[in-house]
Symmetry: C2
Subunit: 331 residues, 2 copies
Amino acid sequence: MLYAKFDVRPKCKNPLLNIDMKINQIGELGLIEKIARQTKTDKSVIKGIGDDTAVLKYSEKEYLLFTTDMLLEGVHFPSLTHFHLRGGSGCGSEVKFFYNIGRKSLACNISDIAAMGGVPQHCLISVGLPANLEWKFVNQLYAGIKKIAQQFKVNIVGGDTIKSPKLIINIALLGKVLKKKLVLRSGARKGDVILVTGSLGGAILDKHLIFIPRLKEAQHLVNNFNIHSMIDISDGLVLDLSRILKQSKKGAKVYLEKIPISVVAKKEKDSLKKALYDGEDFELLFTAAKGTAKKIASEKLACIIGEITAQENVLESSDGTKLDINGYEHF
Amino acid sequence: MLYAKFDVRPKCKNPLLNIDMKINQIGELGLIEKIARQTKTDKSVIKGIGDDTAVLKYSEKEYLLFTTDMLLEGVHFPSLTHFHLRGGSGCGSEVKFFYNIGRKSLACNISDIAAMGGVPQHCLISVGLPANLEWKFVNQLYAGIKKIAQQFKVNIVGGDTIKSPKLIINIALLGKVLKKKLVLRSGARKGDVILVTGSLGGAILDKHLIFIPRLKEAQHLVNNFNIHSMIDISDGLVLDLSRILKQSKKGAKVYLEKIPISVVAKKEKDSLKKALYDGEDFELLFTAAKGTAKKIASEKLACIIGEITAQENVLESSDGTKLDINGYEHF
């Protein structure tokens, strides 16, 4: 079951009053909301649950960024049994598969740090491995992690290895950000222009395993422009934009005709729908004042796709159609 | 399959030359060794793979400590199906079970930070949850984590939630340590006395879910005494002592008659064997100069159980019997 993630949409207005409710009835967003509501932190925590990473006190000029991501066989990537790996021959594509999964597991986390305006530094890798998996595959898994770690100057400083019937990878990543460069989801202002760093849709068909985290782009943006809010698109444009809106207590108008659609998505039907709702693009979605946005767009660093409005949590398209802020079903 | 962890002993002298070898033939230690060997870090990493936590540059007087631990249903705790949870009635013991697992998942990490001489600060919680698990159980899982987080002043600052057929919990914990209080596994010196903070053996029967990380004890030790090396006992006295020996390039003589055996282990046959080889005690094992050790023992802070010798990687009992440094099979 590829990509059978939790449905992230809340399923009813106040799903958390009923303790007998099952997790799939509450949904991921409901779950996170509930957990966050009960969680107190001390004043060394600048931002806890609710952004791409946690933001922690560090030095006079910098904050620490701290994030984690878990990938599971059969949920975030296909089951290993599809490759007849156990006792299989280990052909090139199988080896590449493990390399790509390893690479992706760290890339997702780097993307989160980038979206805060920060740079990654140190990671811990926890893996659950089937006991009869061959070393060559594990070796490739780590080769993929190490390759991207090297590329983005991330130190692998430890981890945990356990036996598991299914392959599990959890990476925890530490980074840092200059205080004055920190960009939160909550910073969008009325009249801000919404931009995206690349084309969207259909990432599941290829890009999700080989995407390059937009660290360079994010650094260029925060170092040269005043970016008000930012997020990386992991769960789809509409859902991730709605996260900015919720945290910023704003609304948005999206110019449907201006959304950059990926080449892959263009070949499919419902290509706009794919660009709006598909996950795993890992492009940066951000907002900035009009003048700044125009400059950014003129330098071809990102495309303008909408504007921030004052109507809290209202997401509409340029033709006036309301978009369901919680997901893709009612498009 | 409770506690069906990897067998941590290396299975052959150079198991890693053969890439077709399976993970269970290499063993956890072999795996970690291989991964560590290939991993380069920059100078901001004081200690990477090979101790209880990673040690990272931080401020003038302090280091950051960074550690992670993954727990999996059916490996580190019994399968949920034992409790007929899916559609079950949710009696008290089931609820307590989740609470205890949550608590343990953070407690293990706190224990690692303690063993470095540090204090914990911030954690990220990744969980894999069965879609049909009831909220009340997840709530208890988090209640257990939050309780011990509160007790040890740890901020819960974020995490990841995914759908998983089996319950998975991965916690990443950040802490800090005064540079001059940092204690590594590698600091044991010839003539050092070996001490342990509590009785050992049979933890699997009860203690493993309810143990109290020895943070207070570790802080008292590093603040008042010169501790040369330290580790928390998670995989058994012999194996964890061997980790100190390997990192310190030393040997040890263990006074078998002086090893404190837990009340639970005493009721079993082979109680000494249990004290030597059972895991999950989470007591501190450490070494110090003779005079210091005597003072510590006289204050009843820990028991003397052996001494460090010059013979690299040789572990013997007081009667001259060699103990297999790699595990429990040849006792």
